[in-house]
């Protein structure tokens, strides 16, 4: 299962390297979203306060596109079916694609954080770095896992574009809440302190644990015909 996962993760990342869809399309999208937030929220003060939330919201919206993309490469030439036909372990497919998705998400989040510093005057400080990094890791894993899971379900099914957001967004709500609070604690926005953030990290950890197991079990039946 892990061998297959490595194989598939490598394949997905290699495809991204070649086609550069994420760097050329999804990142700009996320950047524009960040700018639009500023337009909508009007005052610099408000924007500074909610910066962590905006970063994670932009991440969520980008997640939707990333997941669509991750499965579009498979359905383009019937590759998912070919993988099923080849008897490739679905759990391996799940973990592999989740891994590749996580890598892309991580890059996206880092860029967004940098943008938050630039556009929203968010302030990074040394004390919160550990919290920040672990939050990024945990949230990224969580999002990648559920994204791959529901993306697999929605891929190649009629009405998929609208089905994916409907299914996915409610599920990622805990990640949004947890990651935002933890990030606020790490950055010190709204008067939060670093120690406030750790319970949220615990929440994220539980999320990742539950969905890594649940997803591995559920992915096979979901893509099966």
């Amino acid at each position: 299962m892990f061998r297959v996962a490595r194989l598939i993760a490598a394949k997905d990342l290699r495809i991204e390297f070649r086609s550069r869809v994420v760097t050329n399309q999804v990142l700009p999208f996320a950047m524009i979203v960040m700018v639009m937030f500023a337009f909508a929220l009007n005052t610099q003060e408000v924007v500074e306060r909610v910066a962590p939330g905006l970063v994670w919201l932009a991440t969520l919206f980008s997640l939707l596109i990333l997941v669509q993309r991750a499965f579009a490469i498979e359905t383009a030439d019937g590759a998912t079916e070919a993988m099923r036909a080849a008897g490739v372990d679905p759990a391996g497919i799940f973990l592999g694609k989740a891994l590749a998705l996580a890598a892309q998400l991580a890059v996206l989040e880092i860029v967004l954080l940098v943008l938050a510093v630039v556009l929203y005057s968010a302030k990074l400080h040394v004390g919160g770095v550990v919290l920040l990094v672990t939050t990024l890791l945990a949230a990224t894993c969580g999002l990648a896992l559920v994204g791959t899971l529901y993306g697999g379900l929605a891929a190649g099914v009629r009405g998929r574009e609208t089905l994916l957001p409907l299914l996915l967004l409610p599920v990622v709500a805990p990640v949004l809440i947890g990651a935002t609070r933890a990030t606020e604690a790490a950055l010190g926005t709204s008067g939060a302190v670093v120690s406030d953030g750790w319970p949220w990290l615990g929440l994220l950890g539980v999320f990742v644990a539950l969905f890594s197991v649940g997803g591995t079990l559920a992915f096979g039946p979901l893509i099966e015909e």
Partner: protein, 227 residues
């Protein structure tokens, strides 16, 4: 002779439509069977059924000893399906594709090389991205993936489509080699003449059922060659 495929009154549905309405067929190891019939008759569905992709709604079926009702996942690793789509990743090169698909069953680099050579892809086209290939070249790449996976049962849906004369000859030669090495091949094709010469048996598929099954001239040539 070992029986590779056995179907008895198989019914399979796609949504609410019965693509297979009671098909019965037996195929032995080493045969090259040609499925012919009008569009919509169920040839593709038969192939997908054999590949373990389509669930069996009624009737019975076994492929390579695995029961299609209860155990079709086990069939998949041992079978190679080449459908209308190629199952290739357009951003990867020919070699990368063959290597990927080969490694799903743990093929070595040498086997990947051999597969590429067999399909004439080992020189000029080796490192070309699939997106830049012609339809025929993509087909050959897909076949190379199949070879790399060492399938025991080959299921080919219109394999000659998009190939030029030389390509078709190579394909036929590859198929004969494969059966000589112990594989069994089922081909769905509209190309009656060429496929007829290749196949040992012609099977007609109409209305989701097998209508007729007869030996074909290719079969005689095969048994002559075998001695």
């Amino acid at each position: 002779m070992e029986i590779v495929v056995h179907l008895s009154n198989a019914v399979a549905v796609l949504g609410q439509f019965p693509v297979l309405a009671g098909a019965s067929l037996t195929v032995e190891r080493g045969e090259i069977v040609l499925l012919q019939g009008p569009n919509g008759a169920g040839k593709t569905s038969l192939l997908r059924l054999f590949a373990g992709l389509l669930p069996l709604a009624r009737g019975e079926g076994t492929v390579l000893g695995c029961d299609l009702r209860t155990n079709r996942e086990a069939v998949r690793k041992r079978v190679g399906l080449l459908g209308h789509a190629n199952g290739l990743y357009s951003d990867l090169t020919v070699t990368e594709n063959v290597r990927f698909w080969g490694s799903t069953i743990g093929a070595t680099e040498a086997e990947v090389e051999a597969a590429l050579m067999r399909m004439g892809l080992a020189q000029r086209l080796k490192d070309v991205q699939v997106a830049k290939l012609s339809a025929g070249q993509k087909r050959r790449t897909a076949l190379a993936c199949l070879i790399a996976r060492r399938a025991e049962l080959w299921l080919l849906d219109e394999p000659h489509a998009g190939l030029d004369a030389a390509g078709r000859d190579e394909l036929d030669a590859t198929l004969r080699e494969a059966t000589a090495a112990g594989a069994t091949i089922i081909v769905a094709s509209h190309e009656l003449e060429r496929a007829g010469a290749l196949a040992s048996r012609l099977v007609e598929v109409v209305g989701g059922q097998i209508r007729d099954s007869q030996a074909s001239p290719g079969g005689e040539a095969q048994s002559q060659a075998a001695g």
